[in-house]
Amino acid sequence: MPNEIIKRSHDAHVSGNGHGHDEHEHHQTFWTKYVFSQDHKMISKQFLITAILMALLAMSMSTIFRLQLAWPDKHFPFLETVLGKWAKDGRLDPSMYLALITIHGTIMVFFVLTGGLSGTFSNLLIPFQCGARDMASGFLNMLSYWFFFASCTVMCASLFLTTGPASAGWTVYPPLSALPQAIPGSGAGMTLWLVSMVLFIGSALLGGINYVVTVINLRTKGMKMTRLPLTIWAFTITAILGILSFPVLFAAALLLLFDRSFGTSFYLSDIHIGGVPLEHVGGSPILYQHLFWFLGHPEVYIVLLPALGLASEVISTMSRKPIFGYKAMIGSMLVIAFLSFVVWGHHMFITGMNPFLGSVFVFTTLLVAIPSAVKVFNYIATLWKANIVMSPAILFAIGLVSFFISGGLTGIILGDSALDINIHDTYFVVAHFHIVMGSSAIFGMFAGIYHWFPRMYGRMMNKKAGYLHFWLTFLSVYGVFFPMHFIGLAGVPRRYYANTSYEGFSGIININELITMFALLGAFAQLIFIANFFYSIWRGKRAVQNPWKSNTIEWTAPVEHLHGNWPGEIPTVHRWAYDYSKPGHSDDFIPQTTPYSETVSSNLPGEE
C-alpha cells in the first residue's frame, strides 16, 4: 500500500516526540517561509493575496469602461493621469476600451476565479479537511504558485506596451487575434497574452494533479470518500475538469502562436487585409472556437464548482443542519462535470454550424439545468427548519444561491439555439454570465474567505464590516446586472465602445447611467472588504480554535500554523461531516473525530 507508506513517513517526519518538529521550524528563513514556501497554508495565502490584487486591478478596469459607457461624451481628466496617451483629454481611446474589457475578463475568469479560487481553497482545505500533513508534493505545489505568479506578471507587463495589451476579447478569436494589422493589441500584446496563458495552464495542471493525488492518497484514517466534506468533492471534480480541459486550451494557444509567428494556417484562410491578400489558405477560424470552448465551457464549472462546494459547507455549518441530500449533491456535481464537456457548441450556434449539430448541443445544454436545479432545491431544503447563524460567510453563500438561480434561468434561454439567434453576443449574455459565473463564484470566494479567515490567519474578520460589504455588494450586483438584460433584449451588441452610431439605441443611455452608478457603489463596497481583510490580518480579534462550531477536522488543528498541521497524530475520522443538530445529542454539532461509541444517545440505527 504505497499511500500507507507516504502517510507513515509523513507522520514520522513531523510528529516523532515533538523534538524533530521544533528543529525543523527553526530552519525556516524569510525566503523559505514566505516566498519559496512549500507549505500548503502559506501557498494558499499567496494565491489569495495575489488574486485579491489582480481582482482589484480588474475591478478598476471595469469602473473605467463603465464610465465610458454611461457618459460617452464626457471628459474625465483623471483618466489621462492614469492611462496617459490612451485617454487624451480624459476621453478613453476606443482601442484601450477593448483592451480593458479583454484584460478585465481574462483576469477575472482565469486569475481570480480559477487560479485564485482553486489555488486558495484547494490548497488550504484539501490537506486540512482530508487530514494530511501537506499536499502530496510540496515542491510541485510551490511551482504551481510561481507559475501563476509569473503568468500574472506577464499579463500585467503587457499593459505597458506601446501597442497596448491584447484586445480581441477574452476569447481571443482569430483572425482578429492573429493579425496585428487587424487591431493594435494583436501585436506584442497578444504574444504576451499567449505566453501568460501558457504559464497559467502550467500552474493549473501542476496544482490540479497535486489536488487529485492528495485527495486520493492522503486521506486520514476513517476518511472514506463518502465522508469527505462537499468542499473536497467539489475541488477534486474541479481539478479533474482542469486536467482534462486545460491541455486543449494549450493546444489552441500553441496553434495560434504558430499562425502568428511561423506562418502556419491552422485558423486562417482567404484573408485580404491592409490592402493585400495574405498567403494563408486552408485553415478555419471556427476550429479555434471549437478548441477554445472545449476548455471554455468546462472552465465556467471550474470557476463555479469550488464556489458551490464552499457554499455547501458554509450553509450546512452555519445553518446548524446537515446538508440536504449529500449524495445527490455529489451526484449532481459529477453529472454537471460530465455534461460540461459536451455542451461547448452552445457558444457557436450562429457560426454557420450544421443546424442538426446545433440541436444536439441544445439538448445537452438544457440537460445541465436538471442537476443544477437539484442543487438549488437541496440548498433551499437545507435552510428549511434550520437555525441559521447569520455570519457574513453564510450571507454570501445565500447570495450565491440567489445568483445561481437567476443566472441559471437566463442560461435556459441562451441554451435554446432558436432564441440565441437574436441575443447572442448582446448584453444579455454579459448579464447572464456575470451573474451565474462571475458573481456566484466571487460570492463563493467571499464566503470562503470570511469563513476560513480564522483558519488562515488565526484572527477574525470584523463582522459588521462584513455585513456592510455583503449588503452593498449584493445590492450592486443586482443593480448592475439585472438592468443589463434589458439592454441585451433591446438588441445592443457587447464589446461596443459606445452605442452612439445607431439612433435606435439612444434611449438606453439612461439604463447605462444607472448601471454605472451601481458599479461605482459596488467598487466602493469592495474597498470596505480590502480594508477589513488587511486590517484583520494584523489587528483582528484573536480566533478560538473552532469559532463556527464546525464538524470538519481542519478545526481540530491548533490555531497557530504548524508545519504538518497537527502537533501529534493526525486525527482519525469516524463519521461524515454533517452531524449538526442531531437529536439526542447535547451539542448541536458532533465533530468528525467523535466516535459513535461516545454518542450512543444520538446514534441512528446502523451506526454502531
Binding site: P94, S284, S391, Y496
Partner: protein, 339 residues
C-alpha cells in the same frame, strides 16, 4: 437626472441602515452581554434584511421591467421572428414563475429560520422521494422546452426554398457591402485574391453570373419575399445582426454562411407602429472585429416589392457596362488568378 435621484436615495438608505445598526449595537452593549461571535442582534438584523431585500428587490424588478418595455425591440419584422418571440415569451412565463418561487423560499427561509438560542435545527439529511420528485419534474419540463425549442429551430434552419432571392452580405473592417444577384438570381463567384479598390468584393468578372450582379451600400429588403442571405468576410470574423428581424449569422473568412428569412413589415409601417418617424432598421456588426467595431453598421430599408424594384434598378452593377473598356482590369485580374 432621475438616476442621480435614485442613487442619492440609495446612498441615504445605506447611511440610515448604518446608523440603525450602530444604535442597535449600543443598545446590545447596554442591555448586557451576548458573547457569541454572531449574536442575537446580528441574527435578527440580517434575517430582517433578507425579507426587506426580497420585498424591495422584487418590487424594484417589477417596476424596472415595466418601465424598460419602451427600450425593447418592437414586434418582429420577419416571419420566423414571430415564432422566436413566442418561444421567448413562453420561456419567460416559466422562468419568472420558477424565479419567484425559488427566490421567495430562499429569502423567506433565511429570514424565518435565523438563529434563536431556544430552538434547534431539524435534523433532516435526506428524503429520497423528494429528491426523485424534484429531479423528475424539471426533467419533464425541460423535455418539453427542448422539444418546443428544437421544433422552432428546425423550422428556422431548414433548407431555404428553391428560388429564394439571394443577397450577399459582405463584411470588412469596418463597413458592410451588399450584393444582389440580379435577374439570373445567381451570385457570381468571388475570390479574395481578386479584390481591388474597384472590385471590393473580389467578384470574378469571368463568371457570367456576375454580369448582372448589383452592389449597394444600403440593404433594401422587399417585404413578403423569401430571402437567403449569403454571408462573407474578407478579413476577420464579423456578425451580421439584424435585431428587428431576429436574424443573425457570423461572417467568417474562408467560409460562406447563410441565413434564410422573410421580412414582413416595411420601414414605413414600423414607423407608424413605433410612433417614431425617425425609426430605421439597421444591420449591425455583432462580433468584435477591431477598434471601430462599434461603428460598423448599415442602414436597412424594408419596402413594398414595387419600391424595391425601382430602387434596385437604380443601383450600380458590380462591373458597370459602358464606362471604361473592360479588358484592362480583366487582364490584371487574370494574371492574379493564374498562379
Amino acid at each position: 437626472m432621475i438616476n442621480l435621484l435614485i442613487f442619492v436615495v440609495v446612498v441615504l438608505v445605506i447611511i440610515v441602515v448604518v446608523r440603525v445598526v450602530r444604535v442597535m449595537e449600543l443598545a446590545t452593549e447596554l442591555s448586557g452581554e451576548d458573547d457569541s461571535i454572531i449574536n442575537r442582534k446580528d441574527n435578527r438584523f440580517n434575517g430582517a434584511m433578507m425579507i426587506i431585500f426580497l420585498v424591495l428587490g422584487v418590487g424594484a424588478m417589477v417596476y424596472f421591467t415595466l418601465d424598460a418595455k419602451k427600450y425593447l425591440l418592437p414586434l418582429s419584422a420577419s416571419k420566423h421572428g414571430v415564432i422566436i418571440d413566442k418561444l421567448l415569451d413562453v420561456n419567460w412565463v416559466l422562468l419568472v414563475v420558477v424565479f419567484l418561487v425559488t427566490q421567495f423560499l430562499l429569502f423567506y427561509y433565511a429570514f424565518r429560520y435565523h438563529h434563536r438560542k431556544e430552538s434547534k435545527a431539524y435534523f433532516y439529511p435526506i428524503n429520497h422521494t423528494l429528491e426523485v420528485v424534484w429531479t423528475i419534474i424539471p426533467t419533464i419540463v425541460l423535455g418539453g422546452m427542448i422539444v418546443y425549442g428544437l421544433n422552432v429551430w428546425n423550422n428556422i434552419t431548414k433548407p431555404a426554398p428553391k428560388g429564394a432571392m439571394l443577397i450577399e452580405i459582405y463584411g470588412k473592417q469596418f463597413d458592410w457591402t451588399v450584393r444582389y444577384a440580379g435577374a439570373d438570381n445567381i451570385l457570381g463567384k468571388s475570390n479574395f485574391r481578386l479584390i481591388t479598390d474597384d472590385n471590393p468584393l473580389g467578384v470574378d468578372s469571368t463568371d457570367k453570373a456576375s454580369k448582372d450582379d448589383i452592389i449597394a451600400k444600403e440593404l433594401h429588403l422587399p417585404v413578403g419575399a423569401k430571402i437567403l442571405l449569403k454571408l462573407h468576410s474578407r478579413d476577420v470574423i464579423h456578425s451580421a445582426y439584424l435585431p428587428h428581424f431576429r436574424t443573425q449569422m457570423n461572417c467568417v473568412p474562408g467560409m460562406t454562411t447563410e441565413f434564410f428569412f422573410e421580412p414582413t413589415i416595411t420601414t414605413r409601417q414600423m414607423r407608424e407602429y413605433t410612433k417614431n418617424d425617425k425609426f430605421d432598421y439597421v444591420l449591425l456588426c455583432n462580433k468584435i472585429c477591431g477598434v471601430a467595431h462599434y461603428t460598423m453598421k448599415m442602414n436597412v430599408v424594408a419596402e413594398e416589392p414595387e419600391q424595391f424594384n425601382k430602387w434596385v434598378t437604380g443601383q450600380s452593377l458590380v462591373f458597370p457596362k459602358p464606362a471604361a473598356p473592360a479588358p484592362a482590369p480583366e487582364k490584371a485580374t487574370a494574371s492574379i488568378t493564374k498562379p
